[in-house]
Structures are given as C-alpha cells and as structure tokens.
Amino acid sequence: MAILMPASDQAVLDRRDAIVAALRTIVPGEGVIDSAAEMIPYESDGLMAYRQPPMVVVLPDSTEQVSKVLKYCFEQGIKVVPRGSGTSLSGGALPLADGVLLGLGKFKRIREIDFDNRVVVTEPGVTNLAISQAVAHAGFYYAPDPSSQIACSIGGNVAENSGGVHCLKYGMTTNNVLGCEIVLMSGEILRIGGKSAENAGYDLMGIITGSEGLLGVITEITVRILQKPETARALMVGFAEVEAAGECVARIIGAGIIPGGMEMMDKPAIHAAEAFVHAGYPLDVEALLIIELDGPGVEVDELIGRVETIAKGCGSTTLQISTSEAERNLFWAGRKAAFPAVGRISPDYLCMDGTIPRGALPRALARIRDLSAKYDLRVANVFHAGDGNLHPLILYDANQPGEMERAEAFGADILRCCVELGGVLTGEHGVGIEKRDLMPEMFSEIDLNQQQRLKCAFDAQGLLNPGKVFPTLHRCAELGRVHVHGGRLAFPELPRF
C-alpha cells in the first residue's frame, strides 16, 4: 500500500476481546461483528485497490447507541471510522486495523416528509435515490444526484459533499442540506440547524458537510426538496476538435444560459460507451457534449434553439435534439454508463476527479494526452463540462507488475495539472486517502494547520477517521500555540480610542 496509515496502537489490539465485549453491551446481538469472514465486506469502499480489515465492525441502530459507542471509544482512546454505504471513491471509509468501523446502515428510516416547508428529515443510511422516490408522488425530488445514487447513502453524501450531473444549476449537497443531528467523538449529541433556511451562529452545517467523517457522526439530516422541472430536453452535439467543444461550453455560459446538465466525453469514452449501450453516439467526433435544459416547456424549447445556434456557430459536426423522454434518456444512457463501459475495455481503471476553470479544458486535455503517452497508459475522459469537473479514467491492469503504481503516478500528475491550471484536487469525490498526500500541492502548511485546528474543535484527540484528508497529523496542543512575532507594534499609528 503506497498510502501510509497511522500506526496501530498495540495496546488497543491487545484489548480487542474486552473491547468487543464492551461494545456488545452497547449494541446487542448481530450489531457487533468480529469474525474475520464476516468483516470482509467492510474491508474496502469504492476505492477497491485499498483493503484493510477493521478491528471490529459495529452497526448501531439508534442515536443513543452511536453516542455510547463513541463515548466508550473516546474514553478508551480507540479510533473510529464511520461508514455509510461504502461507495466512497477516495477511500473515506477505509478501516483501520486498530479501529472500530462504525456502520450507519441500520439508519434506514425517513423520519418526516414536510411538503409545506419543502424538507425531508431522514436517517443517514437512506439512499440518495430513496429520498427522491419518497416525495415523487407530490412532484418533488432531492436535487443532488451522484451517479451512485441508487446505492450511496445521504449520510455519506453529507460527509463527502457529493455532487452529480445537475449541480451546475442545483448545487451540491452543501447547498441542499439545512440541518443535522451529529454525535461528536465524545458521545455528545448536538442538533445543528433545522427546517429554517439558515442556522443561528456560525455555519456549522456548512463545515460538517464535506468533512469526510472527521468531525462527527451524523445520525439525522434535514434536506431541501424541490419541485421537479415541468420538462427536460437534451442536445447531443459532436465536435471534430476538443477546443471547439470547450468554446461551445464557454459561449453557452457566456450567453447567460445555465443548463440543468452539461457533460462532455472524449473519443475513447464515446467509443467505450457506444460499444456498451448503443446510444447512437457519433464515433467520428473528438468530443461529444450532452446539454440538458430543464424547466417549463416554453423555456426549454426556446433555450434549445439558442443552444443549437451557439453549437453550430462553434462548428459542431453532429447535432441531435431529443424529441421524447425515451430519446433524452438514450442520450444520457451512454454517459451514465461511461464508468462500467470503460470497465469492459480494461481490467482495471482509476477514476480521477479534478476541477479546472472551464476555459482551461483544451489545455488540460492536451496535458492528459501527453501524460498518457509518458506513462504508456490509456485514458478516457468524461467531464462535467458546465462546472469544470474532470473525470479522467486511467486504464490499467493490476495483474501487470508496476502498472497500478504507474496509474497512480499518472493520476497524481493529472491532479497537479488541475491545480496548476487554477483548479483543485477534487470536485466531488473527496480527498480521503486517495488525494491526501497531494494536499500540499494546493495548500500550504499554514492552510492545512488552520483546517486541522478546526478538526481539533470537534475531536481534540484525533480519534475520528484519522489518516484521511490530512497528510501530516499534528497534536492539537501544538497547533493551538500562538507565536508572538517580536512583540513590536508594526503600525504604531493605528488609531486607538
């Protein structure tokens, strides 16, 4: 394993039997799993190249149990790794050998649907899609739609601040959650926010969202729901050059149009997807855009026309407009199946997740092409073009010695390139362990120290999900020290009163 995790605490491992017994008094019956065979499903999450059996798996079914488990671990100095559905692509739920894996899978109940306030109050183990399904009869849905939405839990969505193809227009998880019940590592249960548009005081909900399970364990979430747009139609536009497709994206945005989704695929991705789902994608283009417009029929019809004009002005070589729901879904079928489609043409692939300024797209793709040659590995690109979120899929074969390491080095170079181009290391998959050691590419030690100080405010002993996000761990006492610089007044003329 190339990623070093925090050293195991032998004293904790030596007490394993006693710890398991103590956890059983809190979570009775099958809620504590300690046999090696039964823990296998928990060894890994969506980042399957990394595996580690936990010391023990605990599956509580109430906030009170979560609180007692955390309090016990806090008092005993035992590390805890929270886990939702285990679909993280960045290794956010990778267990620790000396840690408790705390699974929230039993929190499966939607607690309240409140159409008047346009919110759903749910337990964290409910899947993203199940929320939309629960309110669909009244025309509502939950907007963020990560591609794993059938499986991924809303608790995991909050932990990772998940996105999806529609977040250009409707925002990410952070823009769609209002409140939560959270249990701190000490076992303390807090309620943050609620059904109001804003919570009082500091925006703690904002900091909890996307904190990757390092700040607390969420046991209830209040999400906003929206009315489904009246209609949606899509254009599928092919270009002979990537640059022209990039220009088309820029001009659409520049014209003041914010599509519901705007996706791009490059030639290898188009070919893989077409071979898999036969969506009718043109095979002789270098880039394909799928642009979806949603809203009232009259608005969608008008904007489809405007986008068509822009696309033709950018030199599109093929252009189709969906005339039915079936056709729109067909346009999307290839894009939505892009990852498994690539899985068919390669034994293994790495899915990267950088974001760049939209305008830097042609430069980024050129760099990726060069790197592909350098590392002698194929790559297919799918791209949330509307918001600059790039998903290069690096194709490799883990059975070939050294290929996985080469693929990881290739991926790291892509992410460095994203930062160089003015972008960021991760747009929606999270840092986890995958990009942890790349954090210094984007943040200075001072930047990272400030983030870790915040971690200390929630978990001063660093017991919750250690080894994720931050490349170097510091003691909170050390981070909290204020260095007095000289003690000289730099601005003696400062007005005083």
Binding site: G163, P229, H429, L448, R453, V482, H485, P495
Partner: protein, 412 residues
C-alpha cells in the same frame, strides 16, 4: 490621527501580529457601514481594509470574480452588471435600515452574510463564496476553497467566514460566484390577505413547479409609511402578497399565467413587469418599510429566521403581543419585526415565541445601550454554543478579532 492604510495581506498579518503581541483587540472594518450591528465591542483599535479594494480578476465566462475584501460593493455590482451578471443571493444593503450611508464593502457583505429575497432559490452568501484568503487570529494568512464552483478539497472554511461578522479571520481577498441576470421578471400581487392566509399562498407558490424566486408579504399596518418602490403598490393600510418569477421573457410570462391559476383561490392576481417589479424587490431586500428615516425609524428591528410554513402564525402573534409591525420574506421563512422601544427590545418575549417555532432571531437595529443589555445574536443551546466557541478559538485563540461582537458574555 492618521488612518492606517493596509495595502496587502502582509500588512494585515503585521497588524494582527502586533495586536496579538500587545494584546490589543482589533475592530475589523471595511467602510464601517455595519459597525452598529452586534454587541458593543471590547476593542480599542481599528483595522480598516478599504485600501484593499482591487478587482483581482473578473472572468464572466467562468462565472467568477476575485476581489479584495475592501472593494466597494456598489462598484463591484456595477462591474458585474456591465456583463449582465449579478450575485444571485441579492446581498442586502443595510444602509437605509441602519441609517448610515453606503452599501459597504465586499468583505462586509460576506461577513454579515445577509441575503435578499432570492435566498429561497439561489442560496445565501455562504453558497456563493468559493474561496478566500484571510488572516487568522494567529496572525497567519491562509487560504481556503478555490476559484472553481465545484470543489471539495479540504474543509470548506468559506462557510464559516460567511456570516461570522469578522470574528474568525480578516478576509483579504475572496472569490465569488456570479450568475447571469434574468432577462425579465414578473411579480404577482395578491391583496388583502391576513398573515396566515398569505403564508399559505406563498407556500402554495413555492411548492409549485414555477420556480418562484421571491415570496414576500407586507401586512396592513397602522404604523408604517409606504417606502421606496412599495409606495407604488398602494396604501400601507392594505396587505399585499408578492411572488416573483424570473427568467427568459417567454418563460416568465408563461409561469406568471400558470402561477396565477394556482393562486386563484387566494383572490384576484395583478401582474407587475420588469423594472417596476425589480424596484419592489430591492425595497423588500433592504427592508425599506423599517428604514431609519421612516415612521418606524426609532423602533428596534429584529431579523427572525424560521421554518417558512410557520412564519405567518409566528409573525401575526408577535405583532399582536408586542404591538409591533412585521413584514415577511422567503415565503414566511424570514420575518422582519419592528417593535415599540423597550429597554430589552422585548427580547425575552420575542425569543420565547421564536424558539417555540423552531427559529432564531437577531437584533439588527437597536441603540448601543439596548445592544449592551440584550443578546444581539440568538443564544444557542449549551453544546452548540460550546462547540461554536471552540471553533472560534481555533481561528482566534487570543480573542483579537472583533472581540465580543457575537457574545455578550465575552464582552468584558
């Protein structure tokens, strides 16, 4: 006495470091347009950022602008307006309400985090702040976020900076999301509804698929004078309920017609267009009915945020129990309440009602004496208050920045 002119983040670092060394708490200001908000501070020196006023980069096609924190909000708004763009959260101009001049700076806009009517659809300041450079109470310049809309790299400290009233860090430069301005807008007007019925009408509108971007209710009032563009709506003695639709012309017109049908059970619907509609919403955004120069200028003003569907009942009860006046925004989720002056601004009564409704209340306008005696910001429950304090200390352990502005207990 000279005004210190910090020119860049390095200067700000030096001032904060000097303040740490001499245990000199600093009041952080841009133009000082919101100095009257918050607990009276235990600071005795001012750090003024108005010289950090450059636009670092404006990229309309990327939908972002990067500006220094001291840049005047009005200038930045007119710059992005020239490209037909806007801050979608409709930042409130507090000057009329507070009786001061000028809309202040970008840093002040983020620090206050006061969003206008479109918050129900587009989110608040916190949703539009993509990245920031700031100097913490450790005297260190740090950055958070980035210059792209989709980013989950590291903790999102931007969320904490927005609405922190300068108590966590001194922002020096921020990157904000900008959005295209709608091509046209419509406002549907209903008249004569009581608060609870109006709340139901707004709930029906916001639960419709017509993408309502503003939902406000002005109850009839014996106290208020007609203010700004609201004067054009008729006498303040008559309640008006307002619903805004924005978008391309064909869409706004189409939805206005559909929403009109949805609202038919609530009475006859009038439709206002474009400039007339826009002027009304900026008057609501800036709470002009309670302007300092208006009839209720001497009354303290509360800003109450609550679950939207319970706003009508809460506001009606508050107006009755306090003898005050209320107006509603955010479909009932935001209540502005002007109350007859009392030494405690009727805080105990108001907060008991607001707590029961699951909301929170901030005393936005009151005399210094009243603000000294009242919790300006809503008191939080024990565990959340303790966590918030630990969060604050993680940025500013020596309590240098805007000391005591948020918490009365600290102002000693």
């Amino acid at each position: 006495m000279d005004t210190p002119r910090v020119r860049d983040a390095k200067d700000v670092e030096q001032v904060v470091r000097a303040a740490i060394a001499s245990e000199q708490p600093l009041e952080i200001i841009g133009h000082g347009s919101r100095r009257l908000v918050g607990q009276p501070m235990a600071t005795n020196a001012v750090l003024e950022l108005s010289a950090l006023n450059a636009v670092t980069a404006y990229e309309p096609n990327e939908l972002i602008i990067t500006v220094q924190a001291g840049a005047p909000l009005a200038d930045v708004l007119s710059l992005i307006d020239s490209k037909n763009q806007q801050f979608a959260f409709e930042p409130m101009d507090t000057s009329a309400l507070l009786g001061v001049s000028g809309a202040g700076t970008i840093g002040g806009m983020i620090g206050a985090g006061l969003a206008g009517p479109r918050r129900i659809r587009a989110g608040g300041a916190r949703d539009h702040l993509l990245g920031a450079h700031a100097v913490s109470g450790f005297g260190d310049s740090f950055k958070t976020g980035g210059r792209v809309v989709k980013n989950v790299t590291g903790y999102d400290l931007c969320k904490l900076l927005a609405g922190s009233w300068g108590t966590l860090a001194v922002m020096t430069e921020v990157t904000l999301k900008v959005m295209p301005k709608p091509e046209s807008e419509r406002t549907l007007v209903l008249r004569g509804l009581d608060d609870v019925t109006a709340n139901r009408a707004m709930t029906a509108a916001l639960g419709s698929p017509y993408d309502v971007s503003g939902a406000a209710h002005l109850p009839n009032s014996a106290f208020r004078s007609a203010a700004g563009a609201l004067a054009g709506l008729g006498a303040p003695g008559q309640a008006t309920t307002l619903l805004r639709l924005e978008g391309i012309e064909a869409s706004a017109a189409d939805r206005a017609s559909s929403l009109g049908k949805t609202l038919a059970p609530f009475g006859a619907v009038e439709v206002l267009h474009d400039a007339v509609s826009a002027a009304i919403w900026s008057s609501i955004r800036d709470v002009l009915p309670f302007a300092a120069q208006g009839a209720l200028g001497a009354w303290p003003v509360w800003r109450i945020v609550c679950p939207p569907a319970s706003g009508g009942a809460l506001g009606q009860q508050l107006a009755r129990d306090t003898g005050g006046d209320v107006i509603y925004d955010w479909g009932g989720g935001l209540i502005w309440a002007a109350l007859p002056p009392k030494p405690d601004a009727q805080a105990a009564l108001l907060r008991a009602r607001v707590d029961a409704a699951g909301g929170h209340a901030m005393l936005v306008r009151a005399s210094e004496l009243v603000r000294r005696n009242v919790d300006v910001f809503h008191p939080q429950s024990g565990g959340v208050a303790a966590l918030s304090e630990r969060v604050r200390l993680s940025f500013d352990p020596k309590n240098i920045l805007n000391r005591g502005r948020l918490l009365r207990a600290v102002a000693t």
